[in-house]
Amino acid sequence: MTDFKFMMRQLVRNPLSLAGLIIIAIFVIIAIFAPLIAPPPEGHLDPYMIPREGYSPIPQPPSAGHIFGTTEGQYDIFYGVIWGTRSAFQVGLIVIGITLIVGIILGSLAGYFGGAVDEVIMRITDVFLAFPSLILAMAITAALGPSLRSVMIALTLVSWPSYARLIRGDILQVREEDYVEASRGIGASSLRVITRHVLPNAIYPTLIMASLDIGAVVLSAAALSFLGLGSPEGYADWGQMTQFARNWIVGPSGEPLKYWYAVTIPGLFILFFVLGWNLLGDAFRDILDPRLARR
């Protein structure tokens, strides 16, 4: 655990990663305390559906009742961005979690056994990586039918191949180590060798980097929602809220910036969320890269 302490010290000392930590901490607090920060109105069934006040298509500016204003269709922006934080964490954690499980299983099978297993798995990753990822995700989401679940399935399908490859590479390095040889020598089963010796020594850096990809996943999910392929209308989702603002970027003549709040606020939440993870990721890359450490 001294490694962990060392890493934390490095992270806190670097102003960029410290900023990242603080940003993420704020979002975690927002997500946990969402019901207190933006309590759903009495009798509201699904807290993830943004309460709306009327059906007027024209966004309303910030006021006492709606401190960030409302979108077209009178969805409250403040409520949406607060609960949208929870949706963002859900999408990010679920996609990264499943992606990692798939990536670890297939990557370690390919790396450990080599030969035909390796060849087949790697050719499959080639196929997935041949597509620009957003385009493949878009096609899969459209085919499954637009929904948040489809978005998560699509993002998992497009992102597992790169993790499988990274983990395979890590395992290829560790596989030839003496302690793996020794364990195999005393007759340990493949499963035991992989789970007890190979994985723990091979994948921690990859795991850390992957978990920081939550930002990238949330960004892609927001893009798909923005394209109208994600959550149902009115769901607390930053991408969809940006989409709501699309028809209102230019105000009436004389007041071109009249509806600035409708587009700016949800986008800023996406930006800072992703920024937080990327700031941390950048610092980790330096800490974990032995070539840079020596320099």
């Binding site: 960029l16 080639d126 597509f131 385009i135 096609a139 394209l227 970027i249 996406i270 950048d282």
Partner: protein
């Protein structure tokens, strides 16, 4: 190994990937039931009664491999289905919308690549100085920016607040009429190029005006990537013996950085630039959507949001094949640029 043998080997390696791509795309279509797929052939509601016979005619209830064979045969004949959104065959739609996308890629790619190389070189030459830190923070912000949001903000400012200075779309209405008139010869359907060939500077400037915001949007989110790659490649190059030699010879720092270090550092950047161009030419879906810029990305979004599955899949197939082919071409060119690339294996 000879260059020709290398190319042949690479082309052979392409076959399983292309096979996989086609299988994946076809697999997605098979998520739909025969009835859903049969209804794609229906244009008149009255025909809905004949779905069973359509399924029979087109063999939509046949086993997977037999349907796959039929489908692949059609694809090889250029039949990717019908695009409801634009009422034409998918293949025609791709050719129709491709010039606009190419035009965007032709303008965006050099901006991204050259500013990335420039900033990356500067950052590496001034490692750990303020400029290096500034570009680093800039890069992190750049790849954290939601490009759809950035596009909207740019439109809000440059189209809204600055009263129509930089509008969305490809051409203004007046210029669109000029381009579609009889005396304007459309050689390539790339507006800026056609405008030059027709000697119409008003059209050229109008097309350029519409390209600025999409190019900026694509640049802000992509420059970071090239810049960081260039920086690390430069740092590696600056640590090499030949740089030390050049410095020891007494060359000034500028020559050392620009002539000795940068040339070698450029090699990985060239590869990535190839991928970047392939990705851009394959359709910048979000950028084209926001700016109502009618290229294949825009068409893909229109199709996806109206659940026009044949169009979406045709588009995905097209961009994957394009991506794979461009990568192959880049890899082959690469062997010309860098003699160290052994034709038999990977990079040493």
């Amino acid at each position: 190994m000879e260059l020709r043998a290398y190319i042949v080997r690479r082309l052979l390696l392409l076959i399983p990937v292309l096979f996989g791509i086609s299988l994946l795309i076809f697999g997605i279509t098979m998520l739909f039931s025969p009835i859903e797929r049969a209804s794609l052939y229906v244009s008149d509601p009255k025909q809905l009664r004949d779905l069973a016979s359509i399924i029979q005619t087109y063999g939509l209830d046949q086993p997977f491999w037999s349907q796959y064979g039929t489908w692949l045969g059609q694809v090889f004949q250029g039949n990717l289905g019908w695009s409801k959104v634009v009422s034409m065959p998918v293949w025609n739609a791709i050719w129709n919308f491709l010039p606009a996308t190419l035009e965007l890629a032709i303008f965006a790619a050099p901006v991204i690549i050259f500013s990335g190389i420039f900033l990356g070189t500067k950052a590496a030459a001034q490692k750990d100085k303020p400029l290096d830190h500034a570009t680093r923070v800039g890069a992190i912000i750049g790849w954290s920016l939601p490009n759809f949001w950035l596009g909207l903000i740019l439109l809000m400012v440059f189209y809204g607040a600055l009263s129509g200075l930089l509008p969305p779309g490809r051409l203004s209405i007046g210029m669109d009429a000029v381009v579609n008139s009889a005396e304007f010869a459309r050689y390539t359907h790339i507006n800026t190029l056609d405008a030059i060939l027709n000697w119409r500077w008003d059209v050229f400037l109008d097309a350029l005006r519409h390209l600025i915001l999409p190019v900026i949007t694509l640049s802000v989110t992509n420059v970071a990537f090239i810049m960081r790659l260039m920086r690390s490649s430069m740092l590696e190059s600056l640590g090499k013996g030949y740089v030390l030699t050049a410095r020891a010879k007494g060359l000034d720092e500028k020559t050392v950085v620009n002539k000795h270090a940068r040339r070698n550092a450029l090699i990985p950047v060239i590869t990535i630039s190839g991928y970047l161009f392939a990705a851009l030419a394959g359709g910048a879906v979000i950028t084209e959507t926001i700016f109502n810029y009618k290229g294949i990305g825009w068409w893909a979004w229109q199709s996806a949001s109206r659940l026009d599955i044949p169009s979406v899949l045709g588009f995905a197939l097209f961009s994957a094949v394009l991506f794979v082919l461009v990568n192959l071409i880049v890899d082959i060119l690469y062997t010309r640029v860098d003699p160290r690339v052994r034709l038999g294996g990977g990079i040493q």
